[in-house]
């Protein structure tokens, strides 16, 4: 078998723009899922019992529906139901954010609840309010403990952007499919795509791991 990587080399610009779109989508998804996940996670820990019911329902729902189904529903079904039309890119960003926010919420809840009760007592004993205890004592420690889990969220987010290809968001995988179809070189093109994802993610996960090892002691009470 002969390999010909020239389509990849000739179209590197085209693929690189695809990487750019994948990363843009990742960034928006991370911002969206962090904001929503933080709200849901904090609401679940500190909110009233009434608030917790819909939040738990949301988390359970998002964890039991495949993200691909959420995506096609938002892109194909939602406009028909609500008249609300989102571009493929924003449909993907919203679907991924909704999905990943559920996991972020669980990470935040677990992180907060892992900080020992005695830490809260120590803050209260100094005369702090509950809000001060959360802000000054619990959250900083919880954030440190959440770092490894957030590392996985980052890599899952970047990887999951590939599903946006089904609604024709011109990100890396979509462009690889196009290029493979035009050049009749699927082996070379998809191998290149695989390698690009790998090269993007390995340093990212290593970096977060390294950072965590630096700061782990700050979260150990």
């Amino acid at each position: 078998m002969e390999f010909d990587f020239s389509p990849v080399v000739d179209s590197w610009r085209y693929l690189l723009d695809g990487v750019g779109i994948s990363l843009m989508l990742s960034v928006w998804t991370m911002l969206g899922s962090l904001a929503l996940g933080a709200a849901v996670g904090l609401g679940r820990v500190y909110g009233s019992a009434w608030l917790r019911v819909p939040l738990v329902f949301y988390i359970d729902t998002m964890r039991s529906i495949p993200v691909l189904v959420v995506l096609v529903w938002i892109y194909f079904a939602m406009p028909l139901l609500t008249g609300l039309n989102l571009s493929p890119f924003w449909s993907a960003a919203v679907a991924l954010s909704l999905h990943i926010a559920a996991y972020v919420a669980e990470i935040i809840r677990a992180g907060i609840q892992s900080v020992r009760e005695g830490q809260t007592r120590a803050g209260l004993a100094l005369g702090m309010s509950t809000a001060q205890v959360v802000r000054v004592i619990v959250l900083p420690q919880a954030l440190v403990r959440m770092l490894p889990a957030f590392g996985s969220i980052v890599s899952v987010t970047i990887k999951d952007t590939a599903i946006a290809s089904v609604i024709a968001v011109p990100e890396l995988l979509r462009r690889s499919e196009t290029l493979a179809g035009q050049s009749f070189r699927p082996i070379e093109v998809f191998t290149a795509a695989m390698l690009i994802y790998f090269l993007l993610l390995v340093p990212a996960t290593r970096l977060i791991d390294l950072l965590y090892r630096r700061v782990a002691h700050l979260g150990r009470s």
Binding site: G118, Q119, R121, A122, L126, S129, R220
Partner: protein, 258 residues
């Protein structure tokens, strides 16, 4: 004969804390059963007794970390408040030291001590750190100001915790088994700091299993069992002439031979 009198002040002792028939229930379990006790200004009162006898519970009720189920606790002449904002005001006037230190791991020793005045009193950082530095020097940790809790020994951590509580300039210090989690060789350094504090006239309630400390430093000792005070009196009385067989029993189990 040793006199049982409040230290120095000379005038009539003024009560800082009065416990009146304090009850605490956890579901069916009676943790405190009508405990009455009085702590005067400048007094050191040690609470001793077997585990689960209610000593630590009484301490936690004192600064309202646990709500009481019945009776009244008077602090400085007033019953403990029930409104959150007022409870916080009371807590600011009481320092607490925990068995497991509970230092904040994300802050240096200096900031562990400065965080109370900064967060609660709104003291500027430089001023709070200045106070923290002085307090750390006082507990013999001037060279550890920049260390993080994970780099300190148990005894050092507990001394930082004492400095942290003192930073709020409390009127009473509550010690909840402050040496129980320590290696034997570091217990002494913590007890010495506590002894110095007592000699300065600090009002202290100390839950402890350190009988030698109670014997030497306490003005009064209260013996707990099953949520009640079996007996209380001067250390001489409790350790040399206990009234009840249960107290004698408890002391002999700890290897105390009088």
């Amino acid at each position: 004969m040793t006199m049982i009198a409040p230290k120095e002040s000379g005038s009539t002792p003024s009560p800082v804390l009065i416990y009146e028939k304090v009850r605490k229930l956890y579901g069916e379990f009676v943790a405190l059963d009508e405990v009455s006790l009085r702590v005067d200004a400048g007094e050191v009162v040690c609470l001793i007794g077997p585990s689960g006898s209610g000593k630590s519970t009484l301490l936690r009720c004192t600064n309202a970390l646990e709500p009481i189920s019945g009776g009244t606790i008077y602090f400085d002449g007033r019953a403990l408040p029930s409104v959150d904002r007022d409870i916080r005001k009371v807590r600011q006037r009481m320092g607490m030291v925990f068995q497991n230190f509970e230092l904040f791991p994300h802050k240096s020793a200096l900031d562990n001590v400065a965080i109370g005045p900064m967060t609660v009193l709104g003291m500027p950082k430089t001023q709070a750190r200045e106070r923290a530095r002085a307090l750390l020097a006082k507990v013999n940790l001037a060279d550890k100001v920049d260390s993080f809790p994970s780099n300190l020994s148990g005894g050092q951590q507990q001394r930082v915790a004492i400095a942290r509580a003192l930073a709020m300039e409390p009127e009473v210090m509550l010690f909840d088994e402050p040496t129980s989690a320590l290696d034997p060789e570091t217990i002494g350094e913590v007890l010495n700091v506590m002894k110095a504090l007592a000699e300065e006239g600090m009002t202290m309630i100390v839950v402890t299993h350190e009988m030698a400390f109670a014997r030497r430093v306490a003005d009064r000792v209260a013996v707990f069992e099953h949520g009640t005070i079996l007996e209380h009196g001067s250390p001489e009385q409790i350790f040399e002439n206990p009234e009840t067989a249960r107290t004698r029993d408890f002391l002999s189990h700890l290897g105390w031979d009088g």
